[in-house]
């Protein structure tokens, strides 16, 4: 155990974590998750928002156990390593909107950075403009970081602040397992509070126990190794430090091989699962997501793991993502397999304006 612990905090930690994600995510697809969506932090947070009725897009409503597992796995790892530290107060409202716009961008592309890499490893060529856009967004974010952008210091917070997100994960697990139904309307349609898709991606899911265990394992590994799909490129550009990037390379290679073994590798542009072929907005959505994640300090997975470590600011970002999912589906911003939705591109531009204004204006006057 001690050796594994030391290995995870070594420079090989992200590689091990990435490889294990690369193996387990396609296995989740094999057991029922949507194509090239073994784990997608954005899509799955969106599904949870739908299951709670925050949006009513019927095909994408399910309480994804992977998200619960990722957060609680990070919590357990942080507690075991004595790294659970309740903290907060670093511009939570800005972080809420960064999460909201990151989600809008991700849903124009149809995936978070994790899924971008998993789509690539499944042969979906549309992932390439998405990843190019992601890197452009990160490069822009790094320019702001290098010029003194800061959301300010966080401070130690009361213990309760650190426990709210883990408690929320437990509540979601209870709602998943009990799926309470308050009633039906005159047409027999459930009135909630929990909605599960009967068709579409939201109806495609690996068994609950498998999804939960995979989430727990990955959450624990990622908490120890600080795995981050946005920090990977950020640290190479900003610090010439490639140790996180090696984790991404390991993820893509492991997922590619696993997909080949399971017969899930299909090279092409058209008819890829939960994907569209508009290269401009595949890239554009991810420029916004990459920039918002970089300004907030990490990819959506990392925000979940930090939520599990007691970081209330990361928790606010995650709630912002859930709100972004609701906004995306209520106002026709989220893309469909046919292509971008009517107002998706405009929302991406609005989000970029928000991020650039924050990037130029957010400075920490105490840091000097």
């Amino acid at each position: 155990m001690t050796r594994l612990r030391n290995l995870l905090i070594s420079r090989w930690g992200p590689v091990i974590t990435g490889a294990i994600i690369g193996i387990l995510a396609p296995i989740l697809v094999y057991y029922g998750n949507p194509g090239n969506m073994g784990i997608c932090v954005a899509c799955f947070t969106r599904d949870i928002a739908g299951a709670l009725g925050l949006h009513r897009a019927a095909p994408v409503q399910y309480i994804r156990p992977e998200i619960i597992g990722l957060l609680l796995g990070a919590l357990f790892a942080a507690l075991a390593a004595r790294e659970f530290r309740p903290r907060g107060g670093s511009s939570p409202l800005i972080r809420f909107f960064l999460g909201l716009f990151a989600m809008i961008g991700a849903l124009v592309f149809l995936g978070c950075p994790w899924r971008a890499y998993l789509r690539l490893a499944g042969g979906d060529v549309n992932a390439i403009p998405g990843i190019v856009g992601l890197v452009i967004g990160i490069v822009i974010g790094v320019q702001f970081l290098a010029r003194g952008f800061s959301l300010g210091r966080s401070r130690p917070a009361p213990a309760a602040a650190g426990w709210i997100m883990p408690a929320l994960a437990v509540v979601l697990l209870v709602l998943l397992l009990t799926a309470p139904l308050f009633g039906r309307d005159a047409d027999g349609v459930p009135t909630g509070p929990i909605y599960f898709s009967s068709t579409g991606p939201g109806s495609m899911a690996a068994p609950v126990a498998l999804s939960l265990v995979v989430g727990l394992v990955i959450g624990a590994l990622a908490q120890r190794s600080r795995f981050c799909t946005v920090g990977a490129f950020r640290d190479v550009i900003l610090l010439r430090d490639a140790h996180l990037l090696r984790g991404i390379i390991a993820l893509v290679l492991a997922a590619f091989v696993t997909n080949l073994v399971l017969g899930q590798f299909h090279l092409g542009l058209a008819d890829q699962p939960v994907s569209h072929t508009n290269a401009l907005w595949n890239a554009g959505g991810m420029v916004l997501a990459g920039l918002a994640f970089t300004l907030a300090g990490g990819c959506p997975g990392r925000q979940l793991f930090m939520s599990g470590e007691g970081d209330a600011d990361a928790g606010v970002f995650v709630l912002g993502m859930a709100a972004g999912a609701a906004v995306s589906h209520i106002y026709s911003l989220a893309s469909a397999p046919a292509g971008p939705a009517p107002y998706g591109p405009a929302a991406v531009v609005l989000g970029l304006i928000f991020c650039v204004v924050i990037g130029f204006t957010a400075r920490d006057h105490q840091s000097a």
Binding site: E83, R85, P156, G231, R234, D235, D241, G297
Partner: protein, 72 residues
């Protein structure tokens, strides 16, 4: 020589690393004392310092963070 202090507590990465790198650039020879609030920042600052050929001494502080001493 009294070490120069970088107080990076409360900042999330990569900011502590940027602050330390900036301080190292302005520093001639003397040691650098760095305060961080968690293990992630400790590890990231340590990795930067080791890449720059500095030696790093780390010790836990009473507030649950770490104090790092970077010397050439």
């Amino acid at each position: 020589m009294e070490p120069v202090l970088v107080d990076a507590r409360g900042y999330s990465c990569p900011q502590p690393v940027i602050m330390v790198r900036k301080a190292l650039g302005q520093l001639n020879q003397g040691p650098l004392r760095v305060l961080v609030d968690g293990a992630t920042s400790r590890d990231n600052v340590t990795r930067l310092a080791q890449r720059e050929g500095l030696s790093v001494e780390s010790q836990a502080t009473a507030d649950g963070g770490f104090e790092l001493l970077l010397t050439r």
